[in-house]
Amino acid sequence: MRDELLRRFEDFGARTALFDRGTAVTYAELLKRIGETRQLLALHGVKPRETVVVHGDYSLDSVAALFALFLDRNVVVPVVTLTDTTLDTLVEHCRPGHLIRTTGAGTEVEDLAGVAEDPTDGADAVHGRLGDPDAAGLVLLSSGSTGAPKVILHSLDVLVGEKLEKRPRRRENALNILMVLMFDHIGGINSLLSTLLVGGTAVLPRHRTPDEICALIERHRILVLPTSPTYLNLIMVGDYHRTHDLSSLRLITYGTEPMSEELLLRVRKTFPGVRLLQTFGTSETGIATTTSESSTSTYFKISDAGVEYRIVDGELQLRSRTQFLGYLNYDDDSLTEDRWFRTGDLVEEAADGYLRIKGRAKEVINVGGEKLLPLELESVLMGSPLVEDCVVYGRPNAITGQSVCVDIKPTGELTRAALRKHVTEFLAGRVEPFKVPSKINVVDTIAMSDRMKKLRSRPGADEE
């Protein structure tokens, strides 16, 4: 598999693999950088099978690090925003030996031996769970209920292997794709692998503002835009589709959060002639190929030979070839006894087999495709001396799907403005920016249900 990947990159040679900060990088240059990164890793004593954190967003450096670690059979943990909580969780459950920073100029390797006790033993334990001594691993993080993210282990060999089954595209048919989805998300990794392993070009954005995204589409004549409903909304509300020439677009895929019928209608009107395709995926099962009923329909079919689905009590369950191997820090309670993954998505099935997502079975708040569990943020907020009790919930928001709200019972007399200032400062650096509540209410009591569960439903919270 590794030989096949290297042979393909060599064959693609002078084709453009990446546009990083406006500079074209050929496959030959990418290969060279991968080789240099492997030498650098060896120089720092990074051993095969060790777990290595890669901190940074898409760049030539981070992409080269990903492939270098794949070739060296390491367990890779890509992380775009590295908070203290995240690093603590990784140190505890993955025992990473090294941290690669690609956030500045060039690639820096840090030894984590002093931080993680016995890094090599621990790393071997993680690698051991891959079940194949010659495989590489991939660790992704997703929102967990205790405040610490869920640590999800995948076989990177399985993910790469699946993409290598597709034949390389001829130069004239190669696609260029804009990497709107994140480097540490399953959708982002999936887009990157599906593009590079068949000889396409990945255009790497820097800030992901709708303005920059549209400018890049115009400049690089982008054909494929994998995105989310929120991004499409932000482009249209800001009129960026009028200030930039987006006529090169042939396919827009959207996923990571539910698409409303109203929004889909506006997208259809704004981008006539562009095919719209809903994707479906989870960090645990990978991205499934889907067929949308039509470009004006939110109904879709899972049409992927590698993915089986079934509906149990209204909830969609999946079993896929690219399924994760387990959580490193949580019980596998989202897996049924027969190893089906419970997505938590409530779906309805039309007579012709098409599916539509109705909502979530769990209390996940989805802010523009970024997900958090209320308990997670509540447990962080309870760490503040000014918060006696609190309840976090989502409210509908036509721009980002949902927004994060919190009712707080403060420990003393505090105005809403003062409390908001405190919460914003308290959460800075403790959680990712999208988790900071956009709305804060000061309350006298926190409502509890008769089973002592916090009541998180609010007027309007279920209108989606």
């Binding site: 509300v237 800001g238 009129d239 960026y240 109203e262 036509a398 721009i399 980002t400 809403r416 956009s438």
Partner: protein, 101 residues
């Protein structure tokens, strides 16, 4: 009522300015473009700003209005294109729920 709403919007801008290095000018505030090609906010900051205005409206008028409704985002001329249009939108929404200046 327009002035009261304007006061609420300006107060929100001033609060945001406290934490911004690059201050948003509030002198020609009615023509200030909030979002879009010459807008002062990037997307996620726009959402935070709108929430703040919603909170301030609730405090000032005792009623909630949504500035991120399907109605707001699907207008042909966006209510976020200028402060004047945002004020107009808020005024319409308040009148709908029976609040009059």
């Amino acid at each position: 009522m327009t002035e009261r709403i304007q006061g609420v919007v300006v107060a929100a801008l001033e609060e945001i300015n406290l934490t911004r290095e690059e201050k948003i000018p509030t002198d020609q505030v009615l023509d200030l473009c909030l979002y879009g090609d010459s807008g002062v906010f990037e997307s996620m900051y726009l959402v935070a700003f709108l929430s703040l205005v919603e909170e301030n409206i609730e405090d000032e008028f005792g009623t909630e209005v949504s500035l991120t409704s399907e109605k707001a985002v699907s207008r042909r001329v966006s209510p976020f294109s200028s402060v004047r249009r945002l004020i107009g939108f808020i005024e319409e929404e308040l009148e709908l729920v029976g609040v009059r200046g």
